[in-house]
């Protein structure tokens, strides 16, 4: 979505330099979604607002959303996999989650 633009993508790229895409609706494992000019065959469900890796990511890589750094990769992430708390940490302050020890 650009500031004035209308979105119809099911996977959204917010900035050219981003290495994640955002799901604009609940995507299901097995769905085929077009984004970045290629067809993505989803290996898992992706909930609305969640992020997918647009390329392979390695520990230490900085995650870019809207061109801004939003955290650091902590475990290898394959292109097309969900990027979230299981493989990203804050570069500022930790966050806590339900079910966490």
């Amino acid at each position: 979505v650009t500031r004035e633009g209308r979105s119809n993508a099911r996977l959204l790229r917010l900035a050219p330099e981003d290495n994640v895409l955002i799901a604009t609706s609940h995507l299901r494992a097995g769905d085929e979604v077009v984004a970045d000019g290629v067809i993505w065959h989803l290996g898992q469900d992706v909930e609305t607002g969640f992020k997918l890796a647009s390329r392979d990511l390695a520990p230490g890589d900085v995650v870019l959303r809207l061109g801004f750094p939003i955290g650091e990769i902590t475990a290898p992430v394959a292109q097309g996999a969900v990027v979230h708390v299981q493989n990203v940490k804050s570069r500022y302050l930790r966050t806590h989650h339900r079910g966490e020890a």
């Binding site: 979505v1 004035e4 609305t48 607002g49 955290g71 979230h84 708390v85 302050l93 966050t95 339900r98």
Partner: protein
């Protein structure tokens, strides 16, 4: 955009004796310790939604809480105040009553221990409110223009959609309201972490830019002492991964315009423009979380003079506020489908392409005009009047935090 500082067609303000103009005509019933809360609620229960309960639960005095209550009781949306005290608590009720009286608003103090207990205080309190309502009904109506408006924004229950839909739409609405002459306040320095450099570049002076960065660094240090960020489990369940990702979305509520000042809770902007509210206490970490929930943050925006709150939510917050109406802007289309009865604006339409950010911003501005004109927002219609006030401590903001008033 042209400077449209005129009032909207239906807008009418309530002129207070101190010269401020409100968009609601509320009587507040104020408990000055938790022990008086029930009696205050009982007094208010006999009346409609324009008699509202606020207060401070603590028995021990706190300058921040006393100042907050003073600002809230003299808020332009408030026409009169009834203080309900147990009698032995620490809050300086005489000073609070004096400030309200000095503002020209009717005020009365009822001390439960002196009045003969619960029933007697409820009866005399209700009688005073009934009499005061009659005098408030006769208050002068005046035009209410954009230059009179103070609007605040907060996000509550953010998720991965907030930063794409509702928050940038509120930001664009903020840009339009400020261009039209209004005062706009955004907040939660603990949710601007990682955005401080970009934000400082928008400051109207270099000195203010330095203060904006310092305020975010203060928040980061404060939360580091607490052990984690301003980030609820529901944020992660909604797709937000880190505080910097949440911050990026939260920051977009501030729009793209210049930032005129940095204020602290209870400080009222001296002239129109865009302001950051620094909600994180000064000094060592003393009384826990900067704000224990969204409701405490809304109270601080109201204490800074906000007539109206633009509240974005992804997960689905239902709260409103005492004193100032809340307009609920829903970020997530799935949440909207589940909870449309609690939402004023569906910003989730941006996600499926059925609306642009600009179109939703137009809707938000229109909803603000309706609320200013007296139409009840959804949370008002549902009777939401949440209020929370806790212990905190602040130093006043420094001189470089405020715009120059020369030529005003």
């Amino acid at each position: 955009m042209s400077m449209t500082s005129g009032s909207s067609p239906s807008a009418r303000g309530y002129l207070r004796r101190d010269g401020r103009k409100g968009i609601r005509n509320v009587i507040v019933v104020v408990y000055t310790v938790e022990c008086a809360h029930h009696v205050a609620s009982r007094i208010a229960s006999a009346f409609d939604d324009d008699v509202q309960v606020i207060g401070f639960g603590g028995c021990y005095p706190n300058d921040y809480a006393a100042n907050m209550l003073e600002r809230l009781c003299t808020h332009p949306n408030v026409g009169a105040a009834l203080l309900v005290s147990l009698g032995c608590e620490g809050l300086d009720r005489a000073r609070l009553a004096g400030s309200i009286e000095a503002s020209g608003r009717p005020v009365n103090t009822m001390v439960i221990q002196d009045r003969g207990g619960t029933l007697a205080t409820v009866a005399t309190g209700q009688a005073w409110i009934a009499a005061t309502q009659a005098s408030l009904a006769a208050i002068e109506h005046v035009p209410f223009g954009m230059a009179d408006l103070v609007v605040g924004t907060i996000c509550g229950g953010s998720d991965g959609t907030s930063g794409i839909t509702a928050n940038p739409a509120v930001g664009m609405a903020f840009d339009r309201l400020v261009e039209a002459g209004a005062t706009a306040i955004f907040e939660e320095t603990g949710e601007l972490i990682g955005c401080e450099t970009a934000m400082a570049a928008r400051a109207t002076t270099d000195a203010l830019g330095t203060e904006l960065i310092a305020a975010v660094h203060k928040a980061e240090a404060y939360y580091a002492t607490l052990g984690h960020a301003s980030f609820a489990p529901g944020n992660a369940e909604g797709g937000l991964t880190t505080i910097e990702e949440k911050s990026l979305g939260a920051y977009s509520k501030s729009g793209h315009g210049p930032i005129s000042g940095l204020i602290k809770p209870g400080e009222i902007p001296s002239q129109p423009g865009l302001y950051l509210l620094d909600v994180v206490p000064d000094g060592e970490v003393r009384w826990g979380y900067p704000n224990i929930n969204d409701v405490a943050e809304v109270a601080e925006l109201v204490a800074c003079g906000a007539h109206l709150i633009l509240f974005t939510t992804g997960r689905g917050s239902v709260v409103g506020s005492a004193i100032s109406p809340v307009i609920k802007v829903c970020a997530n289309p799935e949440t909207y489908r589940r909870m449309s009865g609690d939402m004023d604006v569906n910003a989730g339409r941006i996600l499926d392409g059925s609306a642009t950010v600009s179109e939703v911003a137009d809707e938000i501005v229109a909803a603000a005009h309706s609320a200013i004109g007296g139409q009840l927002t959804i949370s008002e219609q549902l009777g939401h009047q949440e209020f929370v006030l806790t212990y905190k401590s602040f130093e006043p903001s420094g001189p470089s935090c405020h715009p120059l008033t020369i030529g005003r």
